[in-house]
């Protein structure tokens, strides 16, 4: 399952442990991770459990605008990378 592979990679890259950060900020980073999982489709990875995970969405709604900005940045970042190194 592509989705589960994605999650494994995703968790590897996202360890929240910068101890200088503020506590609330750390909490909101974790909330962003939940949004990334629920809405992984927006990053091009379909979430086969979407129907079940959607029940969590209301509780992360307040983060959604910030999260959308962040993935937009990430897209820019990815396309810049592709521009520098060319398509494989």
């Amino acid at each position: 399952m592509e989705f589960l592979e994605f999650l494994k990679l995703f968790f590897k890259g996202a360890v929240v442990d910068a101890s200088t950060e503020k506590l609330e900020f750390k909490a909101s980073l974790i909330n962003d991770q939940f949004l990334t999982i629920i809405l992984s489709d927006r990053l091009g990875i379909p979430n086969p459990l979407y129907y079940h995970t959607v029940e969590l969405l209301p509780y992360f709604a307040e983060n959604i605008s910030r999260w959308e900005r962040e993935i937009a940045d990430r897209e820019r970042f990815f396309s810049k990378l592709a521009g520098e190194f060319g398509e494989p």
């Binding site: 589960l4 974790i30 809405l39 459990l49 129907y51 079940h52 029940e55 969405l57 709604a61």
Partner: protein, 294 residues
């Protein structure tokens, strides 16, 4: 074949092979000794037809000890998503609400939604009705999607554990950041809707695996020479077993002679249902076939 030692029954097989017919026949047999429920989760319900009686969305009495139920999965999906939307109305700020509502509506059409709803129903029936009914026969062929989910439970359970610990972390940070009087973290977790939903899903996925592969479950495959050659049916058996679902019974439906099945599967129990001149529909005709089940 000792059918009475099992509590839950599932049958796989091609459309038209005789799954509903055999499920109903078996339920009728079980009901001679135990209060039994036969549940259809098939969107094209045919229990009403096979039983010759209108079956509702609540357990409908068919004979003294036999009840039947046809679940409207699409209705269940609408219900569930309506509840998620109601929750969103309570907790989401008005500015964001319409975007979130749209996201929730999309779930109805998302890949796998129907199968996941089916899992919800299986779980619900098991939780709410298996106390009242000693035997439950599910008239549904779990789809490949559902079966793969069952084959992956460790991954899924690990994943849910991971989400649970992430949620615990987030709530711990939030708690630490508050200056006023604090509840204990355990108290916060027990009231947290996200933590609770994740815990429920974890329980549900483990229960699904137990339901499909456990020792209380009889999983059978229906063969029918008019619908497909037995070599093709053999593949179904092999696939199920490779996913960790032991096939304990084979139904030789519409076989005049079941010996080819016996020799193909020398170690499995086979029940033969001979071809009937008239469709075996209605309780009276089904009763005439009860003797085929030992």
């Amino acid at each position: 074949m000792e059918i009475y030692r099992y509590r839950f029954f599932f049958f796989s097989g091609k459309g038209g092979a005789g799954k509903t017919t055999f499920s109903t026949l078996l339920a009728l047999k079980l009901s001679e000794k135990f209060k039994t429920l036969v549940v259809s989760l098939d969107p094209a319900h045919s229990l009403s037809y096979i039983l010759g009686k209108k079956i509702g969305e609540k357990p409908t009495k068919v004979t003294e000890n036999l009840y039947a139920l046809e679940v409207d999965i699409e209705g269940e999906m609408k219900n569930y998503l309506r509840k998620v939307k109601e929750e969103a109305k309570k907790v989401v700020s008005p500015l964001l609400l319409s975007e979130i509502e749209e996201q929730i509506e999309l779930a109805y059409y998302s890949p796998g939604a129907f199968e996941l709803a089916m899992i919800d129903v299986l779980f619900k029936v098991k939780e709410s009705l298996s106390k009242e009914f000693k035997k439950v026969v599910f008239d549904t062929a779990p789809s490949g999607y559902t079966l793969r989910l069952v084959a992956l439970p460790e991954l899924l359970i690990n994943w849910l554990d991971r989400l649970l610990s992430m949620r615990r972390e987030a709530l711990r940070y939030q708690r630490l950041s508050q200056l006023k009087e604090k509840k204990s973290l355990e108290e916060i977790l027990s009231e947290d809707p996200v933590y609770r939903a994740l815990t429920r899903r974890k329980k549900q996925y483990s229960s699904l695996r137990e339901l499909l592969t456990g020792k209380d479950t009889l999983f059978g495959v229906v063969f029918n020479p008019q619908v497909l050659p037995i070599e093709v049916g053999k593949k179904t058996v092999e696939e199920l077993e490779s996913l960790g679902i032991p096939v304990k019974l084979l139904i030789a439906n519409r076989f005049s002679d079941p010996s080819p099945l016996n020799s193909l599967f020398p170690d499995k129990a086979v029940i033969q249902v001979p071809p009937q001149e008239e469709e075996p529909v209605g309780i009276e005709k089904l009763k005439c076939l009860l003797h085929v089940i030992p």
